[in-house]
Amino acid sequence: MPKTLNFKTLIGPLVALLMVMTMLLATATPVFAEDDPPKPIPGLGKVSNADLTKMYQKIRAWYDSQAIVIRDSYELAAQFQTVIDFYKKKGRDVTRLETALTAFYGDINKAEAARVYTNSFFSRNAGFNGFYVVLDRQLAAQTILEARTNLKGTHLDLLKAISILKQEFHAWKRWMLGHAE
């Protein structure tokens, strides 16, 4: 006659299974809740992985903003050409504006080339996965540092370029008003 299974016969194996599971999970828990202490990285100081992620996101936002500035600069240059054409038709001397525009075009072309180069860092995404999670601290830090260096250089170049263009434009305007018909 087959023996029927009841709770009393199962309780032993169940308790054993529970103990084994508890032991397994107890050892696995620290892996999931990994501690992320700040550790020194050359050029960045003491940073945790979460800090690296935040830095990368900030760099990315800076890059986006710079791309908008470059796009706006091209629009400005096109509009500047319209002004030159307008005053040329009126027989005014626009040599100063033409020279300023040529220099400005040179500067923004340089900035655009730098933007493309900086973009390559984000395409490679070295040290991170697609969700901004750090995979390799050293590589991640290198990506951040190199992107920052490029962005900073381009930022200063753009500031200088726009400042010179503004200066030349205002000087020409003053000169033109002095020679108004």
Partner: protein, 108 residues
């Protein structure tokens, strides 16, 4: 048995009442709405603007200078020169503002 029959009769009566309510109302309402009559269109000449009575307009004299006639514009135009200069100023300002407001500090 009798009890079951009573229940059956009760439910049948209820069902019949509900069915009667659903199909109730005058049959006139169920008729389709009368469509609008066809438009009365007269096949005639289309109405046109009343022709103005012909008046003899005096011919302009050839001796009048053409500049005397005022140039009427449909709407006022902007001062293009000022518009262009202001546009450049505005664009430069916008770019400068964006550059100056950029957060170049990457440390969180």
């Amino acid at each position: 048995m009798l009890r079951n029959l009573a229940f059956l009769a009760f439910f049948l009566t209820g069902w019949l009442c509900l069915a009667a309510c659903g199909s109730g109302g005058s049959t006139d309402d169920a008729k389709s709405a009368v469509t609008l009559p066809a438009p009365q269109v007269r096949v005639e000449l289309l109405p046109t603007a009343t022709p103005a009575p012909e008046t003899s307009t005096p011919q302009p004299e050839a001796s009048e200078s053409p500049t005397a006639a005022p140039q009427v514009q449909a709407w006022p135009t902007l001062d293009e020169e000022q518009y262009l200069l202001n546009l450049i100023d505005g664009m430069i300002e916008k770019i400068e503002r964006r550059l100056n407001n950029t957060d170049t500090e990457i440390k969180p």
